[in-house]
Amino acid sequence: MNVQSIADEYEKLLPEITPENRPYWDGLAAHELRLQCCDECGEYRFPDSEVCPRCLSGSFTWSAVSGKGRLWSWLRMHQRYLSVFDGVRPYLVAYIKLDEGPPVISTLVDPPDELVFDMPVRAVFQPGFSDRTILKFAVESPEPAA
């Protein structure tokens, strides 16, 4: 597949942008991770849904979150399930727990050779194989010694 047809195929994998999830995608385009936060109890949720899973309130605000999280687990996908990934197999998939609560599936950019459970990660905003910006993560570099 050439770059254009990969991009076309990849676009089909992306969630359709709807009035309900548009704030999420607008956030990523602005290099910000935004989640629904419940106006009643402050619970964050992902992906978008009508009511708070904690208190059932239907009132919420899309709020920017820290983008920080922890690497809970990962795998390397060898199987050819989705042909647009042919050029990068085997590829890394990560399960990340955001500091604000919700877990998300993502990947790590420039991962270190050795991954460690619960290592801190931060959101980065990059395209996948098409133009749309998606959420990825990078391992937090240790604070430089003072």
């Binding site: 992906p47 990962w74 199987q79 599936i105």
Partner: protein, 382 residues
Amino acid sequence: MQHESAEIAIVGVGQSDFRALYAKTERPRDAYALAAGALRDAIEDCGIDKNEIDGLICSRVQYDRLATVVGLQNPRFVHDLEGTGRMSGLALQEAVALIASGTVDVVACVYGNNGRSAKVTYGGDGGGPTAAYDEMYGMTSPGAYVALMYQRYRGMYGASEDALAPLAVNNRRHAALNPVAVFQEEFTREDYMRSRFIAEPLRLLDYCLINDGAVAFIVTSMERARSLRKPPVRVAGTAGMAHVTNYYTAEDFFYSACQDVASRLYRQTGIAPEEVDCLQIYDNFTPTILFTLEGFNHAPRGEAWRWVDEKKIHYDGARPMNTAGGHTSESYMQGWAHHVEAVRQLRGEAGARQVPGCATVQYMCASPIVTSHILTTDEAAA
């Protein structure tokens, strides 16, 4: 008439020849033809009159078409369960509840699947609630979500590279003793380690095998059961609990839900885990067996990978497990064939893989709906 749940029995079982159905076909097989065949075998197995069946529970096939195909036009209760593996345990639970409440007297639970010939892949389409947010990272297929759990498990408890090998080897050794099992050629730990990765750390030999096939079982009161053809298999107890999140990945490996189900089941039946003669464990992917053994107190937490060894879990060992070959070697019948094997073991019909003196079998499924039953011979009633 109302019954205590321990006064309910599985009386008839039927299933396809999974090995024969693994052969390639030009066109998809008809899941209804397969389901009807399994139901016919289950009816024949117990000798009940077809017209006595007044409840019909289906999974992966639908009641209206199936009832029409098999001429069961007036059941008093019908229910289609979704075509997922977690539903096989639920089917028996629902049948027990319906009979216990007096709603119906005889329930047929029927499963039919043409997944292989219809080329179902369980990856690359469909998926859970967040599938649309996962596929952009190439994340797809239930096995991959289990791989995430196993990676974490391995890190927490230091499980070795080949920790899953005895589970895959055990399934295959049992399948070699099961004439209808799809894969019967035995392999070694070294062969296991040479098998290719799918979602690393999981390998091909950790995966269930998608196939065509059908399973049926017939459930009724113990009272009615005693006058039927075969010795009844008592449902000594059954319990369940969901653990539902956005992902198939459970951050505690389904431990808390399994513990809740286990405590109710063992209390209800008065049977302790060490008293169970044969374990039938839902094994969509081999790590699920480890999570189950720990969740149901068969092995200490974090140590199931040390607890399993090939001798212990063989049919003639101390803790026989998945004696028909399981999902990785017999056929992926989404837990349904594990129920049939439980019945056969309790009746002494398991041939070359018969567990000596088998009087108590436990079915367990660690999944977004955790279920477990303890089945016993009539004599072994607690």
